[in-house]
């Protein structure tokens, strides 16, 4: 079973990379971009075939290591 984890800076925490990329898009004449935020995707291959167990385990991984919850939020998609 595969878990796709997306980690990104919390709303309200300034994302300097997103901001720089936003400015770059504007300077290339892409109009109408309201905001750009940059995060990272972590793909975890798991042994279990149990969705609930996978979800629980990956949540724990996010809390202890994959995300720094002081500044980051995460989403988990089990595939």
């Amino acid at each position: 079973m595969k878990a796709i984890v997306n980690v990104y800076l919390k709303n309200g925490v300034l994302d300097p990379q997103g901001k720089a990329t936003h400015h770059a898009l504007e300077s290339m004449n892409f109009k109408g971009v309201n905001d750009v935020r940059i995060g990272k995707q972590i793909i975890v291959e798991l042994e279990t075939e149990d969705r609930d167990e996978a979800q629980k385990e990956v949540e724990e991984m996010c809390e202890v290591l994959l995300a720094n919850t002081v500044i980051e939020d995460y989403t988990i998609e089990i595939a």
Binding site: L9, V13, L14, P16, Q17, A20, L65, N68, V70, I71
Partner: protein, 223 residues
Amino acid sequence: MKVSVLRFPGTNCDFDTQYAFEKLGYDTELIWHKEERLPRDTDLVVIPGGFSYGDYLRSGSIAQFSPIMRAVVNYANSGGKVLGICNGFQILTEVGLLPGALKRNNNLHFISKHQNIQVVNQDNAFLNRCDKSEILNIPIAHADGNYYIDDDGLKELESNDQVLLRYCDANGNRIVVNGSVTSIAGVCNKEKNVFGLMPHPERALEDILGSSDGIKMLQGFEQ
């Protein structure tokens, strides 16, 4: 005073830090991160700068799980003094011994230069040889030094005198160097035995190399 200096894969200020404390007359020992215990006679643990684990995932995030860190957390929780410089500061926030987090610099650059910093609180085991509001000239060298803490956390830091240092100009006015909340360059924990800062006092020991302001900072731990 016995100073235990930690080394992780990717640490690169270990010898500078050891040299600095030896030069000031203290005993030192380098401690490999696989060790599970600190030397019994340790008076101060220093986590030096560098790029532990190549800054993979986040700066300091992997090092927090090295075996020696459990010993460091126990040491700190029983009142032992711990100093984290640069990557050491990042590791201490990741492991939860210090509040807040260090983000990518707001201009996305690796910043390496001499920088003025102002002493905000000197009534602690680290900066007691400095004067309040004194301006120190200390090198900085980091990409992830943008200190973040939420508003409630900042109020708590300020009311407990946990803000140690702020970036400033030659007149002591706060300046934006890397985007840190209120220009914070260093903090300590509530109990005032765990200290973290982005600037490198161990690189400021000789006037001929730009500054010797780091001496009284490192000597502070002698009390």
